[in-house]
């Protein structure tokens, strides 16, 4: 269908998207690492429970940890080899997770063991397959997808989040231009699982080739979005694509919409059509300090060291290593961490590109309130959080509505650590309950 323009969204921030670094690098497959260290918690919810023991031989695509509880996800082996350890290792977000460490058998076949083929593709079987394949939201949140596909309220629209508003990242963009057919098939499968006919694809204006490719499909309603961060936020994407507003504290389903990410849709296609469990994804390796920027298919558990080595290593003076995008990603101490389902990028930036929070007193300029996409008062949240009055931060600042996009901290002239204040406040409010 002919693309149409999305609704105007005035808040948020605008910056150079820096996508040119890796935009034209075709997706290529990274070879399997000698050792894969697969985390059991790659999603929101309870960590998966391991079903293998140290010393077991596993095949690629074999279940190694089973979803534990309702909000959890299966984890599959990404290489064929022997389990040499199940131990706590650091994750890029600063915590410790249990990892299953698999020593790859160098002679073994790298192709995966397929899941049992689906006899028929109905709503229930597709959702069951998505749960079985361990698919989670691959945009960064890592919420198990099958739960999102069984909303409690009736929905009539599926929105595909193809905004990719974080600077530098191009993994979704490459999937869109290279695997359009498969991706659209993935959209249709998700729509079928939801029982909806209306599929909206929201693409930011800076990806014109993706827009023209999607326009060729008659069942897709392509929406051109203004280039603005955070366009990929669910609530704003829904507003720009449909004009509906999700009330505070409510889920997208309450506005009759379900939002899915591009990478997730591709994983759904692979799980349903190719019977492939989720054990790899496209990761953007970018930044001014990478010798050869690339978009790589990386098996989960591959260390960032290995990825970097295969991309030619570090170029120039490195300032910061980021897991994810520069707005919401986490900085890493080194590249000695392992890829997970939610990792969309590995960025190596020089010190001149990044900026640190070096707080000076707030001058109440109101910039944060002007850019806040949720129409909150970040300066009030910061003020009350610093004073330890979390209840007031909730009432005056509306901290619980915050999506932690970081727009406020981006514009803050006093470079205050607003996002951290907000996170602290939310944490304290949770503890008070």
């Amino acid at each position: 269908m002919k693309a149409r323009n999305g609704k105007f969204f005035s808040r948020g921030v605008h910056f150079r998207d820096m996508k040119f670094i890796s935009k034209d690098c075709p997706i290529r497959r990274l070879e399997a690492p000698a050792v894969a260290s697969i985390a059991l918690q790659q999603h929101i919810g309870k960590p998966a429970a391991p079903v293998v023991a140290v010393g077991d031989s596993v095949k690629c695509g074999q279940l190694i940890a089973k979803a534990d509880g309702f909000v959890s996800a299966n984890v599959y082996s990404s290489v064929a080899g022997k389990v040499i350890a199940i131990e706590k290792r650091a994750n890029p977000r600063g915590g410790m997770d249990t990892h299953v460490v698999i020593n790859r058998d160098l002679d073994a076949d790298d192709s995966f063991v397929p899941l049992e083929p689906l006899k028929e593709k109905t709503k229930e079987t597709i959702i069951a397959r998505i749960a079985e394949a361990g698919i989670v939201g691959m945009g960064g949140a890592g919420f198990p997808t099958f739960i999102k596909l069984s909303p409690k309220t009736p929905v009539d629209t599926l929105i595909i989040n193809a905004a990719e508003c974080e600077p530098y990242l191009t993994c979704d963009y490459r999937l869109m231009v290279e695997q359009t057919d498969k991706l659209v098939e993935g959209f249709r499968l998700i729509a079928k699982a939801l029982g909806v006919n209306h599929i909206i694809v929201g693409v930011e204006k800076n990806k014109p080739d993706a827009i023209s490719l999607f326009e060729k499909y008659d069942d897709l309603d392509v929406v051109i979005l203004r280039k603005r961060y955070p366009m990929g936020s669910e609530k704003h994407l829904i507003y720009c694509c449909t004009g509906r507003r999700v009330p505070p504290g409510k889920l997208p389903a309450d506005a009759g919409c379900v939002v899915q990410n591009v990478a997730t849709s591709y994983a759904v296609y692979e799980a349903v059509e190719l019977n492939k469990p989720l054990f790899e994804r496209v990761v953007t390796v970018s930044g001014q300090c990478v010798e050869n920027p690339a978009n790589l298919i990386v098996r989960f558990g591959t260390s960032f060291d290995f990825i970097l080595e295969k991309c030619g290593g570090i170029k120039g003076d490195i300032g910061m290593i980021i897991d994810g995008g520069p707005m919401m990603g986490a900085t890493m101490l080194s590249t000695d961490y392992y890829t997970r389902k939610t990792d969309s990028g590995l960025l190596l930036l020089p010190a001149s590109e990044v900026s640190l929070s070096n707080p000076t007193p707030c001058i109440s300029c109101g910039s944060c309130a002007r850019v806040c996409p949720m129409h909150l008062m970040p300066m009030d949240i910061d003020f009350y959080t610093q004073a330890g009055d979390y209840i007031m931060a909730k009432e005056r600042g509306g901290v619980l509505n915050c999506i932690e996009c970081g727009s406020c901290a981006y514009v803050c002239p006093a470079s205050r650590a607003l996002v951290q204040s907000i996170q602290l406040c939310k944490q304290k409010l949770r503890e008070m309950k």
């Binding site: 910056f15 600077p167 609530k235 704003h236 507003y239 507003r245 999700v246 009330p247 505070p248 409510k250 570090i314 003076d317 490195i318 300032g319 910061m320 290593i321 980021i322 520069p326 707005m327 919401m328 990603g329 986490a330 900085t331 890493m332 101490l333 080194s334 010190a351 590109e353 990044v354 900026s355 640190l356 929070s357 000076t360 007193p361 001058i363 109440s364 300029c365 109101g366 910039s367 309130a369 996409p373 949720m374 129409h375 909150l376 008062m377 300066m379 009030d380 005056r396 509306g398 509505n401 970081g406 901290a409 981006y410 514009v411 803050c412 002239p413 006093a414 470079s415 650590a417 996002v419």
Partner: protein, 344 residues
């Protein structure tokens, strides 16, 4: 592996800093300051220099008393004290004795700003409060003895005695033409407030640099003008003299828009600036003196109240109309349920 930075998100930030904003304000004030020096000669220059130097020095000494290291104080210098000193000098007459800007500047910085916690913590505008302090402490100098500018009015009439505004408010009518009022030629007043053109240029610079929103000073000035017209029994000839004669431009563009002492939300700012306009016109008519600084001081004190009650509605939250409608519907439903219960 080399050393890398580990910090909290976001990892990229805008280029704007507090220091940059304050420098922009200083630059925007320069045209008016230069015109002040042109009109009122070296007296004006000396007043400005004393005021700025005293402000910066006071901040430095106060920080030293707080046991900060000199190098740290210099590193964290953010030009706010320069802005305060400059603004204070702009709203003093040129003929005041040297100790007036000195004492007022020390009062502005030490009492109004630093005692409350320094940059961003003051509850009222330091420059305005400094001027009000000077007005009360050195009243004779502040209200009389105005000096005519060295550049005479275009039509040759140079007024002596009272400032333009007090003469208009006193019912004597304007003694210089509107163009003179706009350019500041042949017009008496404080150092920075006479040349409206220079203030306007500074204001446009601030708007272009996105330091202030153009709507706010415009609202203040226009509302003041209209209320003045209404109070003068709809004599529209009063509009331009009323807005051009006093310190309204200086107050509206540079004083009232001060971030720290104005409301945080956009809606709150609209309320704040409309209230400023109305109060200025009403109090001018009632007291027959220039009240811009007093009105801004008064409204500064009401800002916490505005901040408490005028807040943006979170994205997606129901608007006022929807909320009222929902309430009415809930009431109706309750009534219907009651009637139902009564029937049974």
């Amino acid at each position: 592996m080399e050393k890398v930075i580990v910090s909290d998100s976001p990892h990229i930030r805008g280029k704007r800093t507090t220091r940059g904003i304050m420098l922009d304000v200083v630059i925007a004030l320069l045209p008016a300051a230069v015109m002040g020096c042109v009109f009122f000669g070296t007296d004006a220059l000396v007043t400005i220099l004393i005021s700025v130097a005293a402000s910066v020095a006071t901040e430095f000494v106060y920080s030293l008393c707080l046991k900060k290291k000199p190098i740290e104080i210099i590193k964290s210098f953010d030009f706010t004290s320069v802005v305060t000193g400059l603004l204070l000098a702009m709203c003093l007459p040129s003929h005041v004795k040297w100790y007036v800007p000195l004492i007022s500047a020390i009062f502005s910085i030490a009492v109004v700003k630093m005692l409350f916690g320094g940059t961003g913590k003051n509850i009222v505008n330091p420059a305005i409060t400094g001027r009000v302090f000077a007005f009360i402490a050195f009243q004779s100098m502040m209200v009389s003895g105005w000096v005519a500018p060295t550049i005479a009015a275009l039509d040759g009439n140079v007024a002596t005695g009272a400032t333009e505004l007090t003469s208009i408010l006193g019912g004597n009518g304007a003694s210089v033409s509107l163009l003179d009022m706009f350019l500041g030629t042949g017009m008496m007043g404080c150092i920075g407030e006479t040349c409206k053109l220079a203030l306007l240029i500074g204001g446009i610079y601030l708007v272009v640099r996105k330091v202030i929103k153009w709507q706010f000073p415009v609202i203040y000035i226009v509302v003041e003008g209209f209320v003045a017209v209404c109070l003068a029994k709809f004599d529209f000839a009063q509009f331009l003299p009323s807005i051009l004669s006093g310190g309204l431009f200086l107050g509206a563009i540079f004083m009232a828009t001060d971030y720290v002492t104005s409301p945080n939300s956009t809606a709150g700012n609209y309320v704040y600036f409309i209230a400023l306009g109305v109060l200025t016109a009403v109090l001018r008519a009632a007291t027959k003196i220039e009240v811009v600084s007093f009105v801004i001081l008064l409204m500064n004190l009401l800002v916490p109240l505005i901040n408490a009650y005028i807040r943006p509605r979170p994205f997606g939250a129901p608007g006022l109309v929807e909320r009222i409608r929902a309430k009415i519907e809930a009431k109706k439903a309750a009534k219907a349920a009651k009637e139902e219960g009564g029937k049974q």
